[in-house]
């Protein structure tokens, strides 16, 4: 006598639903694409990934600085090297990000249903500014004292001085090493995933200024 088991009911667990939605939104061939459209072969498309590279150096050098502390980054040769590495990677991050922003602005990169790509990029830029400012006031030297006393007047003038006290090193340091970097990295991850989902914005076609403004399917 044989016993047949009832067919297994389809699982409706939340992990399955999340997986199905994630794969539907970003199938593997889109998430880790091995080919890009021909129009991407231009130097102006390089500045996004240059910004990402600079951000990786910022996070890496910043992690080492946080581990070792101000005495190390001010008074040892290798500490000053990592301090400079952190500073100049930030300078390059903003330089690359501004050129990336200019390029995307003149491409009208919000076309073709890419408004969220544009918005997350713009918000990343805005959040990166206080992230850098809190770094300047966390240096633990006369430079940081000068900048914090000047910047607190700016905070007071816009009515947020009670919430963000730039003279409070503990507050500024925790903002700089945890809260704001986490926000920047999270926004960058969302931004990159949205780029993967929608595809890189195509350039305008000559003689057709409205091309690409209505399609939500990315580059054709």
């Amino acid at each position: 006598m044989s016993v047949t088991e009832p067919p297994e009911a389809p699982s409706r667990s939340w992990t399955l639903r999340v997986r199905e939605r994630a794969v539907a939104a970003l199938p593997p061939e889109k998430l880790l694409a091995d080919k890009q459209p021909t129009y991407v072969a231009s130097w102006i498309y390089v500045f996004g990934v240059l910004s990402l590279s600079a951000l990786a150096v910022i996070i890496g050098s910043g992690t080492i600085l946080a581990l070792k502390g101000p005495g190390w980054w001010h008074f040892t040769g290798i500490g000053r090297f990592f301090n400079s590495l952190h500073l100049w990677s930030v300078e390059l991050f903003f330089l690359f990000m501004v050129i990336h922003l200019w390029g995307k602005y003149w491409m009208a990169a919000w076309r073709g249903g890419r408004s969220r790509v544009w918005i997350t990029g713009a918000v990343t830029f805005v959040v990166a500014i206080p992230c850098a400012l809190t770094g300047y006031v966390s240096q633990q030297n006369f430079d940081s004292q000068w900048i914090s006393t000047q910047a607190k007047d700016a905070m007071n003038s816009v009515g947020v001085g009670a919430f963000f006290n730039l003279l409070n090193f503990g507050q500024m340091y925790s903002y700089h090493v945890l809260l704001l970097p986490a926000a920047v990295v999270a926004l960058v991850v969302i931004h990159v995933l949205l780029v993967r989902k929608h595809g890189v914005v195509p350039p305008f076609r000559l003689g057709d200024g409205d091309e690409g403004t209505t399609s939500r399917d990315g580059p054709s």
Binding site: K35, Q36, A41, S42, W43, L95, V98, I99, G103
Partner: protein, 63 residues
């Protein structure tokens, strides 16, 4: 270690005004180092658009 550039002096500023008198119509004031950075960014931006990108036939692109 000495700095590459001597920073032990007051910053140089670029100033110009549009309209005379005690309240000019437009006033611009920016440190020379910031002006240089912005000019460098504009040059890099122009070069990124103008310079040809190296092409490798059939490598990683689709029509």
């Amino acid at each position: 270690m000495a700095a590459v550039f001597n920073l032990n002096h007051h910053a140089s500023y670029v100033n110009f005004h549009v309209g005379g008198g005690s309240t000019p119509f437009f006033s611009f004031s920016m440190s020379l180092s910031n002006v240089i950075v912005i000019v460098v960014m504009l040059i890099v931006f122009a070069l990124a658009i103008a310079l040809p990108f190296p092409h490798h036939e059939g490598a990683g692109t689709q029509q």
